[in-house]
Amino acid sequence: MTEQLSTQKAINTALREILADDAKSLVFGEDVGKLGGVFRVTDGLQTEFGAHRVIDTPLAESGILGMAAGLAMAGHRPIPEVQFDGFAYPAMNQIISQIARTNYRSRGATPMQMVLRIPSYGGIRAPELHGESIEATLAHVPGLKVVSPSNPHQAYHLLRRAHEMPDPVMFMEPKSRYWNRGDVDFENPGDLEGSLVAREGEDLTIIAWGAMVARSLEVAELAAEDDVSIEVVDARWLKPLDEDGLVASVAKTGRAVIVHEAPRTAGLGAEIGQLLTERLWGKLEAPVERVTGYDVPTPAGDLEDEYIPSIDRILFGVQRSLEY
């Protein structure tokens, strides 16, 4: 069955099915119950599954994640939420020092099977710390897995997949895309491992994730008018990165532009660039290009468009690569 859903509704549907199928699952965070979350992603779940499984927690992020750790130790499969990306910072003590290493510390005896949902990235003119792109920070931590869906179909299936995985998964939802609709094919998830070619092309590969995938697809559309054939790869899994998939695409096109909203220095663009250089040394037609946020605090809404890679900036990146 295929249905047109928004990403927000697709995640809501996945959560509803998980709660129905898995008695050990529970959803909790700030305002996720009665209100259904500030983005309504958890809408209706508390009514359906009760306040003991869909919990409005006190306003304390370290507490939310520490509670998740304790629940996982007891064999539950929690799906906590932090309300906004920037409020994962107060929870970093529990995420980095506890959740990421409890499996290790206990020699596999107490796995941390959980999915942390993080409404992520900018693009909605939100106040400070409501538009952070923290994927590199999370990917750097041994013990965590990181995934970021780009559309409703991916959001639905990747969340269901993440919930089945026995390791802690950081699930980064592109909040600016919550309301964009797309087909969700419930029966046919497609391959959920690794990256995904979102559009095929011959001349250059753009590697992106989250909200930058849709924007890169627009860029590819515009470039096609000038007879430039761009392949867009949706990285999806940021940890582990799909090395073979990313390399295969760039091996074909010879050129790569990596697009991310996060600041450039020590961002995942650097990691992917290193991967491509290592694996494709001598085969690249141009240096790997990065189009990213700048090394500045994510600016207030008025400057957001200057900070987040725009279509024009991505096109400049494409041009630099093609003209090298």
Binding site: G63, G70, A72, A74, N93, Q98, D167
Partner: protein, 345 residues
């Protein structure tokens, strides 16, 4: 807006119990025996550190009653303890394998070798205060699952300043989760004295702010600790969280690397009350039994020493194998490279 009446319920008065405390002789002997093992382990471990067997060690000397007394009040079929680096007495009190436990202090493996679900205590926690949140989450799970189990979170007066402890107390109180917050107020947080850590000197006083009952007890009287913890656990199972503040004293250094003379005087150390081991000895009041128990404790710890010295090696592969349940391809590659580059034969 007019000030609304406070709806904070007057927390239950749990301590002292109306009918006093009686702990039977058999139980007292069980407690005393494990306190002796803990004391001998601590004394020996400091020696092992001097001999280079252990890289460092944080002795629990003086806190045996607090640790053993509370741990033995747990129901091992359904309860769980969340411990820190200085809680060997809890490990002994739960009859958890000491060699497995010492794997942590031996620097063989972060957290030692025990399976928490079997030994009923967490791996030792290095981040002070984090135990409180894990205990709360674990306790919430017991409520959901209807096991009747309760969690006990161990932490110190210093750790009580951590936000995690406050978040845990608040969450536990709001959700009425079955958890006992067991504070060992030993007067010191490394070199920082209690008065710089806790205004008013009592962590238990904070409990009323979370509408939960608290018990301030003599942490050096093992009978009192045992009885109080039992009461707290029963209350927690039925009604929700309790704070126990066990007043005790860290008689040794913070750790073998520490030099307490830089921050506290010998006079202060000498002005202490009776040693909890002596208190237990008086409670047991059977010198013949006591002498035998001392011997058994020596033997038990000697067996640990022997096991620790029969070289237990750690396989470097473990470093890679336990990061995830499902290893990433990157980690597989790093492991292969590590093998190739370190396999020098």
């Amino acid at each position: 807006m007019p000030v609304p009446p406070s709806s904070a319920a007057q927390p239950a008065q749990l301590w002292p119990p109306q009918n006093g405390v009686t702990v039977d002789v058999e139980t007292l002997r069980g407690l005393a025996e494990r306190m002796l093992v803990t004391r001998v382990l601590d004394t020996e471990a400091v020696r092992w550190q001097r001999q280079g067997i252990l890289p460092a060690f944080p002795p629990a000397i003086g806190q045996e009653a607090a640790q053993v007394g509370s741990a033995m009040a747990l129901d091992r079929a359904r309860d769980m303890a969340f411990i820190t680096y200085r809680d060997h007495g809890v490990v002994v009190g739960l009859d958890s394998d000491l060699t497995d436990y010492m794997g942590s202090h031996l620097a063989l493996w972060n957290g030692g070798f025990a399976d928490p679900n079997k030994v009923r205590h967490s791996p030792l926690q290095a981040v002070v205060g984090a135990t409180a949140l894990h205990a709360m989450g674990w306790a919430y799970a017991q409520k959901l699952d209807g096991t009747g189990g309760a969690a006990i979170a161990y932490f110190g007066d210093g750790a009580s300043s951590q936000g995690d402890v406050h978040e845990a107390m608040n969450f536990a109180a709001v959700s009425k989760s079955p958890v006992v917050f067991f504070v060992q107020n030993n007067g010191w947080s490394l070199s920082t004295p209690l008065d710089l850590q806790v205004a008013g000197g009592s962590v238990a006083a904070r409990a009323s702010g979370y509408s939960m009952p608290s018990m301030r007890i003599d942490g050096d009287d093992v009978g009192e600790v045992y009885a109080a913890t039992q009461i707290a656990l029963e209350h927690a199972r039925e009604h929700g969280p309790v704070v126990i503040e066990a007043f005790t004293y860290r008689r040794g250094p913070h750790a073998t690397s520490d030099d307490p003379s830089r921050y506290r005087s010998l006079e202060e150390e000498r002005a202490l009350g009776p040693d909890p081991i002596d208190v237990a000895r008086q409670l047991v009041a059977d010198e013949a039994w006591w002498a035998e128990a001392e011997q058994r404790a020596e033997q038990a710890v000697d067996a640990v020493r022997v096991q620790m010295q029969s070289p237990r090696t750690i396989d470097g592969n473990d470093m890679f194998d336990y990061v995830f349940q499902e290893k990433t391809p990157q980690l597989v590659k790093q492991q292969e490279q590590w093998r190739e580059e370190t396999d020098l034969d």
